[in-house]
Symmetry: C2
Subunit: 375 residues, 2 copies
């Protein structure tokens, strides 16, 4: 199967459809759980699939350092290595180079950094980022870009945006020899500046990509800034290409971004919050660490599709989190992966039925209602 | 169903049969995975069951301190609390009081200790240990005993053994009001002294229990000492009652103890070693941390009944362990739980077929053969 995007229905700016990839179909709007190092933290792959995920994200930065892209290629590629025969998207490594490594040096050619694992100096160029993703064999690859922290001077934001555009062109050229059917996305940068965002989007569309990512957001800025940047960008992107908001986000972020025409998301929140004892639910976040759950025999949500949300008392989940038992992190990460996928399924169905606005309102009312009273 | 033990076949001193309990049947010889704090570390309960475990062990010491026996009783008992509707055996807390708590004071009445969790002073008497296990609702309960470290002066070993006998009598009286169908085991003590072990066994049989545990072993003594103590004890125990060797052990320990008439075992090794990257296998232990696995595309054991042993390359398991990913501990703990249960199933089938000696030889030859060569 070769990469293709088909929109089945729209509702306002929201869209629902399907992305075909060499490893299967991704229903959009899609949430991609993050398997950073080739594993979903605390969740078996079979449960990632059972949650309803069509596609997962792998981090180029982590995988290039350990076990190495050539090693994974020799083992048959990332799908086979991790035993996930379904679609995979890889990022370019750019974001993690900025956030995790020390002693990085950026010039027009690329970035050189010190590995956070063994201190070795590593070079990453647009061409090498593509080569790594080719070796991994991901269905959807990302251009190398430069992410900067916000707030930032406009000149600095523009410099990084222009550099990312130059890297976008080189990435596209490098990707020409990639295996057929796979897709490369360009990444819109421009910080919190509408004009720079628009300039970035227009230039990327001129280069031409199979899909467009919006990067450099969810880095600490307020939600209204993030949404304003999406609004500045999506009207400039071709309607027939998927739009991917990188690293986002909370359930509310996702609802709002979908309303503005975004099709794809990824975030570590479901598993990270699960490890910390926080469950997402129809009635907002539930902190299982809280003593109010200590004697509560009720499950998290008896109507959930997720076994972990139905089969265990809140008192048990509370106990596991307090006792620092791995099973607590495992069960709550599963609960959260299911919750995110159920949210996406609800979003898709609502757009298809033409009642996304009502779904958005009802869903937010549920979150605002809050969790059931303690027992 | 009420507690009952039925021997289906014997082969030399080895026996195979079934223990009926209120929550189901336990096939013997049985290995009980240890769910210390009400959870199996890194393994979902469904996978504990899938591994072939009929019964699991819960630790009274941990559960009495957190979340508390009365709390678990109010939530419907331990089976319901942890959502394991199958048989459960609980220890008496005695062993962990000795190994985990500080400032313990032992007299004829019981033991007082400082909780390792919050520093609170806690008293445990034979009567309270039974009360706690009644509140937990375990199918098989243990008398409170005093475990001592080896080596030890004979006089001290004898003192602790006599005290454990006095506690055995009190435990039996306290257990008279327990719910019908449940069983109480006495615990043979006596350190590494054959005479003291024999005296303990005879006195316990005079008191009369539904089953007999052999405690205070696998605490650092050589295997031949442990086996000699089993040999000193089993001929004195009634043939129609199950014999449980507490806290044991390695696959080899289990084979040797079964050959000497032991029916039940428990140990944390499968999950603890799994967390540390060590897999048990038909061809001996395999250290996945070792670099020789880094590029090996072969599964741990393509003939295993365990999905984790078949579905993932050794290179992937190596990567997960090196990267400290939870999934590595999860998969290898599962591999090891399956391996132990497969070993027990093989033991049971061999005894039933009257060829246990050959099975024991063949199994040891497999371990001695060692793992396949690196690839």
């Amino acid at each position: 199967m070769t990469f293709a995007f088909r929109i089945a229905a729209t509702d306002g700016d929201a869209r629902t459809g399907e992305i075909a990839t060499p490893h299967g179909v991704v229903r959009t709007p899609a949430f991609m759980p993050v398997g950073t190092q080739g594993a979903m933290k605390g969740v078996h792959w079979r449960d990632v699939k059972a949650s309803g995920a069509d596609i997962v994200l792998g981090n180029t930065y982590h995988l290039m350092l350990r076990p190495g892209a050539e090693r994974i290629a020799a083992l048959g590629g990332l799908h086979k290595f991790i035993n996930w025969p379904h679609p995979i998207l890889t990022d370019s490594g750019g974001f993690q180079v900025m956030s995790l490594s020390e002693l990085r040096k950026i010039d027009h050619n690329g970035v050189t950094f010190r590995s956070h694992l063994d201190g070795a100096m590593v070079a990453l160029t647009p061409e090498r980022a593509i080569e790594i993703q080719n070796l991994l064999g991901s269905d959807i690859a990302m251009q190398l870009d430069e992410c900067i922290r916000l707030p930032q001077e406009r000149a600095e934001i523009e410099r990084a945006m222009r550099l990312s555009l130059a890297w976008a062109e080189r990435s596209k050229r490098a990707f020409e020899t990639a295996a057929p059917g796979r897709a490369l996305f360009g990444i819109v940068q421009g910080g919190d500046d509408r004009e720079l965002r628009a300039a970035s989007a227009r230039a990327l569309v001129d280069i031409g990509f199979a899909g467009y990512s919006i990067g450099g957001l969810a880095v600490g800025e307020p939600q209204h800034v993030m949404l304003a940047m999406i609004e500045a960008v999506t009207p400039l992107l071709p309607a027939d290409r998927p739009r991917y908001l990188m690293g986002v986000g909370t359930p509310d972020d996702i609802l709002e971004a979908v309303a503005r025409g975004v099709d794809m998301f990824d975030c570590v929140l479901p598993t990270r919050n699960g490890r910390h004892g926080l469950a997402f639910s129809r009635f907002g976040p539930i902190n299982l660490r809280n003593a109010r759950h200590a004697a509560d025999p009720r499950p998290l949500d008896p109507e959930s599709r997720c076994p972990a949300a139905r089969d265990y008392a809140r008192a048990y989940l509370h106990h596991l989190i307090k006792a620092n038992e791995m099973l607590g992190a495992m069960l709550l990460s599963e609960v959260n992966l299911f919750y995110y996928q159920d949210l996406m399924a609800g979003i898709r169905a609502a757009i298809a039925a033409g009642n996304f606005a009502a779904f958005r309102t009802t869903t937010k009312e549920g979150w605002a209602r809050g969790d059931m009273a303690a027992m």
